[in-house]
């Protein structure tokens, strides 16, 4: 990946969250790059820090959270360290964000057209009429039938899938380089999810943007991501191309996670694979691998401080002391 083909670069990002009992490190030393036009899937269970990482990249952390170290740059512009006002001025052109629940994202008292056009009016010095026209085009682009009428609708008049399309239109109206989608289909039914995920793929191709897809769902990752980052307890455990992650997961956590997902092919005669125990509390993590207490392969070496990243290939690395090695699938596929 040469420098000019990188849409976003995150280096050693650390985010602290203030709680009643002191400060927690919700994201600990995350580094990743997202290529132009790439869908990067960020996957993990609740509390692993994937959403916090996504919001830190967007510069939209809640007030209790703060980026304390590391850098984020999008399309060559460094976003970390900018004042809120500067950030607000340039963010719309660089980063768009879609959240899980479209009903809480949209203002229920404002017509759809105004909400979609708003970022356009703020970022482009333009007339209300031109902004409305741009909004109508966006609504058409995200596949809403009869966009002219949707402009004058209120959010409650639309279905959940239509509302999420409206949110996507608002996020993309300034044509950002990077779209951050945080569990964008989790609140939707499976057939609607299918429609929205296909829409992302189409928009990615038509607009040439990159997507950071934050999700807990390995199926959504498999269907949409080009590369995958697996997070556990605030840290990235493994990053690699989607086929390699599924065919030959290296980190023991990645493997355990994949095996505990029931699919339409799971052998029903045997119990599902489970991961014993629970993720650690972030105020009680020590040095070493955070998955070790739940891992059947852990030994003393796993508790060493500063576990290095190991490279399987230039695009695939992990931090497991006892990686799984190449799988049969890997050998047979060459």
């Amino acid at each position: 990946m040469t420098e000019q083909h990188i849409a976003a670069r995150v280096e050693n990002l650390c985010v602290d969250v203030a709680t009643r009992d002191g400060s927690l490190r919700a994201v600990d030393g995350a580094s990743l790059t997202i290529a132009e036009g790439e869908v990067f899937g960020l996957v993990g269970e609740s509390g692993c820090g994937k959403t916090t990482l996504g919001m830190a990249i967007a510069g939209l952390l809640p007030s209790a959270a703060r980026t304390v170290a590391g850098t984020v740059s999008v399309a060559g512009r460094t976003l970390t360290g900018l004042r809120e006002r500067e950030l607000r001025r340039i963010r719309g052109d660089l980063v768009g964000v879609v959240f899980q629940d479209p009903m809480t994202t949209l203002n229920p008292t404002m017509k759809v057209g105004r909400q979609v056009a708003e970022p356009f009016r703020l970022h482009r010095d333009t007339t209300a009429r031109a902004a409305r026209h741009a909004a109508e085009q966006m609504l058409d682009l995200v596949g809403l039938p009869n966009p002219g009428r949707v402009l004058d609708a209120y959010p409650h008049q639309l279905s959940g899938g239509m509302r999420q399309r409206v949110c996507i239109a608002a996020a993309l109206i300034c044509r950002p380089k990077l779209l951050i989608a945080d569990e964008p289909t989790t609140a939707l039914d499976v057939t609607t999810q299918d429609q929205i995920l296909r829409l992302f793929q189409r928009l990615r191709a038509e607009l040439g943007m990159s997507i950071l897809l934050v999700t807990h769902d390995m199926g959504v990752i498999a269907a949409n991501a080009d590369r995958v980052g697996v997070m556990y307890a605030g840290q990235l455990a493994e990053v690699g191309p989607v086929l390699e992650i599924f065919d030959s997961p290296q980190h023991r956590y990645t493997r355990a996670l994949l095996e505990s997902v029931p699919t339409l092919d799971t052998d029903l005669s045997r119990p599902l694979r489970t991961i014993p125990g629970l993720p650690p509390r972030l105020d009680r993590v020590g040095p070493g691998c955070r998955f070790a207490p739940r891992c059947g392969f852990a030994d003393d070496a796993c508790s060493a401080a500063d576990l290095p990243w190991r490279e399987l290939s230039p695009m695939h690395s992990h931090r497991c002391v006892h990686p799984r090695g190449l799988s049969r699938a890997e050998h047979s596929h060459g």
């Binding site: 269970e45 609740s46 279905s159 899938g161 239509m162 039914d189 499976v190 057939t191 609607t192 999810q193 299918d194 429609q195 995920l197 296909r198 807990h216 769902d217 390995m218 199926g219 959504v220 990752i221 498999a222 269907a223 949409n224 989607v242 086929l243 599924f246 355990a256 996670l257 994949l258 505990s260 997902v261 029931p262 699919t263 339409l264 092919d265 799971t266 029903l268 119990p271 599902l272 694979r273 489970t274 991961i275 629970l278």
Partner: protein, 347 residues
């Protein structure tokens, strides 16, 4: 469905039978509406769940599956039709019979946090159904609670904890223990694992399956997640907009879906397999769910169905058998895939 299916799970007598169950709610709609409108939440559903079976009820939000669950456990009364549990009409139960019914039938909810009293220790939450249902000595109750905790894989000291001190997975175990405390005959679980993370979800699913086999309890699991239901249930019913559109053994319905809606639902599930996902050929189901206030005439799925004809708008399809115990309400059921295609599983 209107036609009663032959008892497909062999010789087991039915524990739950629904006959043409309808549930409608008046709409609190616009102030100056022309006529009183009704939401058709459950429309003409007939269904038999044999003793000891585990039945999965699937569909998307708004299909009526949760309403049907609430009707079965007696939290709602049907607008018309009858619901029988263990041969008794549940709407006519009074007094001691009604009390017994509340013990025989238990519910497990999606969010155990909201179904447990935050100010009550786990022991008290588990002891409550026992105390309500039976007169028992305190020490005996304590023993029962310890046994229950052990059975659902929780340590004995969980007794003294409050809900906020426990994780979601642990709380759902408490929810299951609470349902099992009174040794029910039927457990209705509404999205029992939807709020849980995958690694914990697998633990709870395994637990539910083990307990079901150990006690021979009849289960009705309601879920939007077809993979969960496949893992847990032996029979499945697919609902769409208040109608039961397809029922049958899981193996048959999942590999040879006959209703175009079931097929679309199965195809829409993203598989944790990138190769398969990238070669998915099926088109996604278009459009949105129609309003349950004014459902389409004839077949309710026709407005989104790729196979719909004029017939579908005029005549409501009656359920018909497509395989042993496998019924579909469709004028144009999908043919079974050829044996060659079948080896690739559901698509």
């Amino acid at each position: 469905m209107a036609d009663q299916p032959e008892n497909d799970a062999g010789t087991a007598p039915p524990l739950v039978s629904l006959d043409r169950v309808v549930k409608e709610y008046p709409v609190a709609g616009p102030m100056f509406r022309r006529a009183a409108q009704r939401v058709h939440a459950v429309s003409d559903v007939s269904l038999v769940v044999p003793q000891g079976a585990s039945f999965g009820l699937v569909g998307e939000s708004g299909c009526g599956k949760s309403t049907l669950g609430r009707l079965i456990v007696g939290l709602e009364r049907p607008t018309s039709g009858t619901i029988q549990v263990a041969g008794e009409d549940t709407t006519r139960l009074r007094g001691a019979d009604r009390r017994r019914f509340w013990r025989d039938v238990q519910l497990v909810f999606q969010d155990p946090r909201s179904s447990l009293d935050p100010r009550m220790k786990i022991a008290a939450s588990l002891g409550e159904p026992l105390a309500v249902q039976r007169e028992q000595a305190r020490e005996q109750r304590r023993r029962l609670i310890l046994d229950l905790l052990d059975e659902v894989g929780l340590p004995a000291d969980a007794m003294r904890r409050y809900p906020h001190e426990m994780s979601g997975g642990q709380l759902q175990r408490v929810g299951i223990a609470r349902a099992l405390a009174v040794r029910p005959r039927l457990v209705v679980a509404d999205e029992p694992v939807s709020g849980l993370d995958v690694s914990v979800r697998a633990q709870v699913l395994n637990l539910m399956r083990t307990l079901q086999r150990a006690h021979g309890i009849t289960y009705i699991v309601i879920s939007h997640d077809l993979t969960t239901v496949r893992y847990f249930a032996d029979h499945v019913g697919v609902m769409y907009l208040g109608k039961l559109v397809e029922t049958g053994p899981v193996a048959s319905v999942y590999t040879r879906p006959a209703h175009p809606y079931t097929a679309a639902l199965l195809a829409a599930i993203p598989h944790p397999d990138p190769r398969r996902e990238r070669h998915k050929e099926s088109a996604s189901l278009g459009g949105d769910l129609p309003s349950a206030v004014d459902p389409p005439s004839g077949c309710r799925f026709r407005t989104r169905c790729p196979l719909a004809t004029e017939l579908c708008a005029v005549e409501e399809p009656r359920p018909r058998n497509v395989a042993p115990g496998h019924q579909v309400a469709c004028h144009f059921p999908l043919p079974s895939p050829s044996p060659a295609a079948e080896t690739q599983g559901p698509r």
